[in-house]
Symmetry: C2
Subunit: 304 residues, 2 copies
């Protein structure tokens, strides 16, 4: 993988699903690189040591980044500022600092403030599962997925190239865009779907007319797909909604308008409008499968 | 399978995903039974003949049911009345007529009107995939899934037992409830999730700020899960929403209230409310997996 051969020492701060997956992917795909890990939680550090996906787990954030060329902050968006402050005393002057947060404009500001004079290049690998924690990670999480890099106006081109090459070496495809556009795209493709899924699962658990046991038994009719997303890490997602508030509220408003249109069509018995709408939405699924972003097996290939 | 050994001749009317899966399951699990099939669409009949999942495909609906002890109507809910009228002239006096529709009160009325004097026992196997048509079916579709039987007040107990035994023989678990309660339970666990998924996929395809290509590329962040459901058969789902209008609108109102609460929490920056909500919704996922209604593999076991 010559694109990333320059990276010989990486530090991952935050060893949950994403951080531990990065560490595992580096060990598998960039065996020449040394990976150091740190997590603010001593229990997570202990688990990470047992699992052995880093070359070393360091108790102090500042010590962990001491020799790193590349530092990746893999903590919830709301903890980025604290994580940056904790590593600041240990950073090499020419280290590149990046992150994996699901919203980018707010994180870019927080990191720039906490790390003045350092090269900060925010990024977001669009990958994950509903599971959390250091044991949930795996080396192939980023294969064939997109990583969006959002360099600020003054970011050195060679640092952007190094970070992009690093993600490509882990199997990701890299796209560059500005942070504000990223936040709108992800509000639509990730944050709104999570908000809707969290909502409907909550609604289902509190409807008096239907017991929770019934919801669970008959979930194969569609509901269970939403529960996967609604099982995602609560703290991570709390922070995403707070950090990307404006874009989330903007897409939510559009969703609400569309839902009102369909609600009215149902109330009025307007079958043509419903059928037209439902026919349009099929095409998008086909494109997602063609572009390798989902599994074409019916029902996601679930066992029957 | 002694529970269903009484069924020696079954006719399936409507040979799409569900009808063709029933036929396949009967051939595999009730080899002594003769399965006759009919579809109003000549192309579907031709495909069904090629695929060979029925012992005979009959061009006329009335002729198809001539010797059947059990007739299952597997057509969209809006076509039940027509399908029942088409089979009426050919039915044996003691035949049991059932269906697989996703809403039950309206279907029960339509079938009772179209088939006076006959034994009608509506049912709904809660199973399916996003694919449609006779080639999409498979014999294991109902294994471990629930089939809800909704007999009316005067339904003969032995007929209910025969139908229940038939579904158990195909691998399903059977539950009995009244049609109105079925419609409320399914509005929540199936119809509302489909409506929401259709809505958000439509919203995404029309948001000016984000291109369709971006929606597709970054769909792995959550959106793609909704596209699976939103690829379901448009005519079937149009009919479901029209037939189960009141229950769908009632659950939708509750969903809208909950969404407004979360929207307000985001606007006000109320992280505690968000985190509490997101923590509650995790537990339901766990129960669904424990009860075998979904796959525990992270990300539905998608390939990476």
């Amino acid at each position: 993988m010559p694109v990333a051969s320059g990276v010989e020492r990486v530090t991952i701060v935050g060893l949950g699903l994403i951080g531990s997956s990065i560490a595992r992917a580096v060990k598998e795909r960039l065996p020449q690189a040394m990976v150091t890990g740190h997590d603010a939680d001593a229990d997570v550090r202990a688990t990470a040591r047992e699992l052995g996906f880093c070359d070393a787990i360091i108790d102090s954030a500042a010590a962990a980044v001491a020799d790193a060329e590349l530092v990746i902050l893999a903590v919830p968006v709301g903890r980025m500022a604290d994580a940056a402050a904790a590593i600041a005393p240990g950073l090499k002057a020419d280290a590149i600092i990046s992150d994996v947060g699901s919203s980018k404009a707010g994180v870019a500001d927080a990191l720039a403030k906490a790390l003045p004079g350092h090269v900060v290049i925010p990024a977001h690998p669009v990958a994950g599962t509903e599971n959390s924690g250091p044991a949930a990670g795996f080396a192939t999480l980023f294969e064939g997925r997109w990583c969006i890099v959002t360099p600020g106006a003054g970011a050195p081109a060679e640092a952007v190239a190094l970070l992009s090459g690093f993600w490509q070496a882990l199997g990701a495809k890299v796209e560059t865009m500005d942070a504000a556009h990223h936040d709108m795209v992800l509000a639509l493709t990730s944050h709104l779907p999570h908000l809707i899924a969290y909502t409907i699962v909550g609604t289902a658990s509190e409807l008096e007319e239907v017991t929770e046991s019934e919801v669970i038994k008959y979930s194969a009719g569609g509901f269970r797909d939403f529960t996967r997303i609604a099982a995602s890490d609560p703290v991570m997602w709390r922070d995403v909604f707070l950090a990307n508030r404006d874009a989330v509220l903007a897409t939510l408003q559009r969703f609400n308008e569309d839902l009102t249109v369909l609600q009215q069509a149902i109330r009025r018995g307007d079958g043509d409008k419903l059928e037209d709408w439902f026919t349009r939405t099929r095409a998008i699924r086909r494109s997602i499968i063609e572009q390798g972003q989902d599994d074409a097996a019916p029902d996601f290939g679930r066992k029957h």
